[in-house]
């Protein structure tokens, strides 16, 4: 297990034409830390994640890896091996015409990593899917199983930072618990750093140590999960989110 790697984002700005999706956002994820980004739709949280890994172009701002030794910069092929992402929709993140085996073999083939057979088998075991899943097509898998494959795919290159874009929002509650447990376990075993985006405060505080609240492209508040759980919250918007997550109240 190599030394953990962190992430530093400085003054990130993402603009699509006239529309500013993310405005001057800065945060640091320490090596081995789990960091959450919370917000509602239109907050820019997913855009931040996509800008970090290069799926969206950065209008301005810097993204750097922090840690020991020489670290690649975004844009290098080597960066791809350090930072990977798990997407939200399990029904859209796996190629419909490829078997699980092919989906997992592709990253290894692209980076010329040998020993594909045993790596694929190990990856499937680590996410709790055994024999019999390797040659299925995505439509033969349930939502939870697909998300596990997506996690296996993200981890097969042995990255050190995992970006998670609402990984459990589209899953049933019982399946969500299993996937969250799996993510926690994998993080512990591999010393990963997480950046997790969610609209669900309970999920984010469960999995993350520190979090950032975003609204309409702006950072509203940066606080620790412990503070949030204890309601030591400064901003009104954060308070509104907390209240909303408690559910409907009848008198």
């Amino acid at each position: 297990m190599s030394a953990p790697v962190g992430l530093e984002v400085q003054h990130l700005r993402v603009q699509f034409g006239v529309f500013v999706a993310v405005e001057d956002t800065s945060f640091t994820v320490q090596p081995g830390e789990s960091f959450g980004i919370v917000g509602e739709s239109g907050s820019g949280k997913s855009t931040v994640l996509r800008a970090i890994c290069g799926l969206n172009a950065r209008t301005s701002g810097e993204v750097r890896l922090i840690g020991e030794g020489a670290l690649p910069t975004p844009g290098d092929k080597a960066f791809r091996r350090r930072v990977q992402m798990v997407f939200q929709d399990p029904y859209g993140s796996l190629h419909p015409r490829q078997t699980v085996d092919r989906i997992l073999a592709e990253p290894l083939a692209i980076h010329g990593i040998p020993d594909a057979e045993s790596r694929i088998e190990r990856a499937l075991e680590e996410v709790g899917l055994g024999d019999g899943f390797r040659f299925r097509f995505p439509h033969q898998l349930s939502g939870g199983q697909r998300q596990r494959i997506a996690i296996a795919r993200a981890l097969i290159l042995e990255p050190q930072i995992l970006l998670l874009d609402e990984p459990t929002s589209a899953l049933d509650a019982s399946v969500q618990a299993e996937v969250l447990n799996l993510l926690e376990q994998l993080r512990r075993e591999r010393g990963l750093s997480f950046v997790m985006v969610s609209h669900d405060l309970a999920v984010v505080t469960h999995l993350c140590e520190r979090l950032m609240v975003m609204q309409r492209g702006r950072t509203v508040e940066l606080l620790s999960a412990v503070d949030l759980a204890a309601s030591r919250v400064r901003d009104d918007y954060t308070k509104a989110l907390m209240q909303a997550s408690k559910g409907f109240t009848r008198a």
């Binding site: 509602e40 739709s41 939502g143 049933d172 509650a173 019982s174 399946v175 969500q176 618990a177 299993e178 969250l180 447990n181 926690e184 376990q185 609209h199 669900d200 405060l201 309970a202 999920v203 505080t205 469960h206 949030l228 759980a229 204890a230 509104a240 989110l241 907390m242 209240q243 909303a244 997550s245 408690k246 559910g247 409907f248 109240t249 009848r250 008198a251």
Partner: protein, 293 residues
């Protein structure tokens, strides 16, 4: 800002005579191998002027139950029941004409995502007027006035402006409120809401629920609230049916949810992460085969 119901003792209100009687409802679909897959396997309940929540995960059959009541199942679905009646009218054997009158007129349905349930090529106002004119004999001007009033009733601040907008021009929350306005304009007695707030942001969810709450109380409607969110349903409804694999595994009063007995319900309650409670790892649901029986 918390959303508060208008009537303090709504939970204790007497549901009154049955609006809807469902006995042994079964819905099946033909499958790949030529056989039948049963999505709903013998669901029974009665509904008065109260709020009933139907909770289940995907594949539990909860949505199919709601759709079967309204006759909105897919064409290839096979529906049978010992009894499926709305205020005495047998829903399975009534004529197509009667069913059309019931639908939208006396029984209404609110669906999950207004993007997909509102007609994208008609303005919101026109759709509401169309719904009204399908069920009541009113002139164009009267219909327009009623539509504007309906939009105001769902807390839309500028009804005249929203009247002219198209569904893609409004936010999710406003679209859902427009959908509710459209469904309630013909004064239905029963409302079936299928995941009405799942596609909305958390803060908007509460606003929409508050509106729904107010309208249901004002009009004395019966409400069936179908959702995957057990906590939300327990806070909004009077009674809860928990469905698993096409059957009802538990029926419990909302206020007694913490006393639920079935292991599936207890498992479902326990496995959700809660703000403030740190349980690592989260308890997971250990599915037993006998729950499917």
């Amino acid at each position: 800002m918390s959303a508060v119901a208008s009537s303090p003792d709504a939970a204790q209100r007497n549901p009154g005579p049955a609006l809807l009687e469902v006995e042994d409802l079964r819905v099946s679909f033909p499958n790949r191998d030529g056989g039948l897959t049963e999505a709903v396997r013998g669901v029974s309940f009665t509904l008065g002027r109260e709020r009933l929540g139907i909770v289940g995960e995907s594949g539990s059959g909860k949505s199919q139950t709601g759709r079967a009541i309204l006759g909105l199942s897919a064409a290839e679905a096979q529906i049978s029941a010992k009894r499926l009646a709305f205020k005495g009218t047998d829903l399975l054997r009534c004529s197509a004409q009667e069913r059309r009158e019931l639908r939208g007129g006396r029984i209404a349905m609110v669906l999950q995502d207004p993007k997909y349930s509102l007609n994208p090529v008609m303005s919101i106002g026109d759709q509401i007027v169309e719904t009204l004119q399908a069920h009541a004999r009113v002139s164009g001007a009267q219909a327009r006035a009623k539509a504007l009033a309906a939009l105001a009733a769902v807390s839309i601040e500028d009804p005249a402006r929203v009247f002219k907008l198209y569904p893609h021009e409004v936010s999710g929350g406003m679209g859902q409120r427009a959908m509710i306005a459209m469904m309630l304009i013909a004064d239905p007695e029963l409302l079936i809401a299928d995941e009405p707030t799942s596609a909305l942001d958390v803060t908007v969810q509460l606003q929409v629920l508050a509106i729904l709450d107010k309208l249901v109380v004002e009009r004395g409607m019966g409400l069936i609230f179908v959702s995957h969110d057990l906590r939300l349903v327990s806070s909004f409804c009077d009674r809860i049916l928990v469905m698993y694999a096409g059957r009802v595994v538990e029926e419990v009063l909302a206020k007694n949810l913490h006393l639920a007995k079935h292991p599936y319900t207890r498992g479902l309650l326990n496995c959700l992460p809660v703000l403030g409670a740190a349980r690592h790892p989260l308890p997971t649901l250990d599915r037993q085969q006998e729950w499917k029986l």
